[in-house]
């Protein structure tokens, strides 16, 4: 086979019916998701026998436990985003009739990845990646964390994927692509409000955010248990750590004082693709962070010609009778309807 280009590759994802049982991309419900790059790899700690036998060089190596890990980076497209968020440490909720569907994802406290039936249950996925016409199948895939960031005006998501096993697809089928639907610079707005379980975010749009990065780390790990195979037994979750990182024009000391006083606030990021109001849009994502605390707020004079900016990291906290954060996606894709 001749050399291949990355651009000819593709990624497909489909929800599994049994966690870790690989489904190839001919499976009904498969979607082909445009990506920017991926780094999924087979990770094995091979065993090198340290036998002492008159040799200073290891003489035997055996296979050991393994799992799948890596990142998938993509331009956020509301059409496909829920497929990944279903496969993460969230409690999903699906509403609407398709004009649009409204998917809400709030953090859960589950200790491990699992499949729960119905549109309000977590899933695991089989992900197929084709590199130079060669198929790699990854089973039992979930997100160990993710980052949403505005880069060059485009909302980009980097998904940290963990999987149980790698398989060779029996059939690669034939991809079917929909038109790209990415969220550009004129889509995004940021609002702030007082922390609470249901802030209205009724104030004016914030205009001094220079960058936006919302990261969630589930502290996930592949767990290997003694069984008659080598693949991971399950994916465990630890503490969930959601953070928001940005840079603000430094215009007053108010937020600096909030940082020192540990005052909490709510932040909303929303991105609408079709230019309609939130209530009417069929193509949007909203990230609500209900109880944010400043973790860092640094303001300095960087140089004679540098703007005076505040480097900010905030952390989403839990809140009584509420949720720390919620991701809402609106689209016309009937995801998980039959699961």
């Amino acid at each position: 086979m001749p050399a291949g280009l990355g651009g000819a590759g593709w990624l497909a994802i489909v929800f599994e019916t049994v966690m870790g049982t690989y489904l190839d991309p001919t499976t009904v419900g498969t979607v082909w998701v445009p990506i920017l790059d991926e780094s999924l790899t087979y990770n094995e700690d091979k065993y090198y026998s340290p036998q002492i036998r008159q040799s200073s060089i290891v003489m035997e190596q055996k296979q050991s436990y393994y799992h799948v890990a890596g990142d998938v980076r993509l331009e956020v497209d509301p059409t496909f985003l829920p497929y990944f968020l279903y496969c993460s440490r969230h409690t999903p909720d699906k509403a609407g009739d398709g004009t649009p569907y409204v998917y809400n994802f709030t953090p859960s406290d589950d200790a491990a990845a699992q499949i729960v039936a119905g549109s309000s249950g977590q899933k695991t996925a089989s992900i197929t990646i084709v590199r130079n016409d060669v198929g790699f199948g990854y089973a039992g895939c979930v997100l160990g964390g993710y980052t949403f960031a505005v880069e060059d005006g485009i909302l980009i998501c980097t998904m940290n994927v963990l999987g149980l096993s790698e398989e060779t697809p029996a059939d690669l089928g034939s991809p079917a692509w929909v038109a790209p639907n990415i969220l550009g610079a004129d889509s995004h707005s940021i609002y702030t409000d007082t922390a609470g379980v249901a802030p209205a975010f009724a104030g004016a749009v914030e205009t001094n955010f220079n960058g936006f990065e919302f990261a969630v780390d589930f502290n996930a790990e592949a767990q290997n248990r003694i069984r008659a195979d080598r693949e991971a037994s399950y994916i465990s979750y630890g503490e969930t750590v959601p953070t928001l990182t940005t840079e603000l024009d430094f215009e007053s000391k108010t937020e600096y004082d909030n940082f020192k006083n540990s005052a909490k606030k709510a932040v909303r990021f929303q991105s609408i693709g079709d230019g309609l109001a939130w209530g009417a849009t069929q193509d949007a994502i909203r990230i609500d962070m209900f109880n944010m605390s400043y973790d860092e707020y640094s303001v300095n004079l960087g140089g004679m010609s540098d703007l005076v900016m505040a480097g900010v990291t905030m952390r989403a906290l839990g809140i009584a009778a509420g949720v720390p954060y919620r991701i809402t996606v609106k689209n016309t894709t009937d995801i998980a309807g039959a699961s």
Binding site: T26, T27, V178
Partner: protein, 69 residues
């Protein structure tokens, strides 16, 4: 002549897809592939349309009367 039907349960009826080897198809609808296009398909992919899409969860290929391969 081949009749190719694309059906994906997650997407609205009529949503347009670009199906590899075929081109534009609309969800839930069928397109007809004439003998010349079918020959080009086989030359490109090494299989006839029905062989290529056999087992594909979203694509159904029917050979129309008077057609074949």
């Amino acid at each position: 002549m081949y009749k190719v039907t694309f059906r994906h349960p997650a997407f609205p009826y009529g949503k347009q897809f670009g199906l590899t080897g075929i081109g534009a198809v609309e969800n839930g609808k069928s397109i007809l592939i004439d003998e010349d296009a079918a020959r080009r398909f086989k030359a490109m992919f090494g299989k006839t349309l029905d062989e290529f899409f056999e087992g594909h969860g979203h694509v159904q290929v029917e050979i129309q009367k008077g057609g074949g391969h």
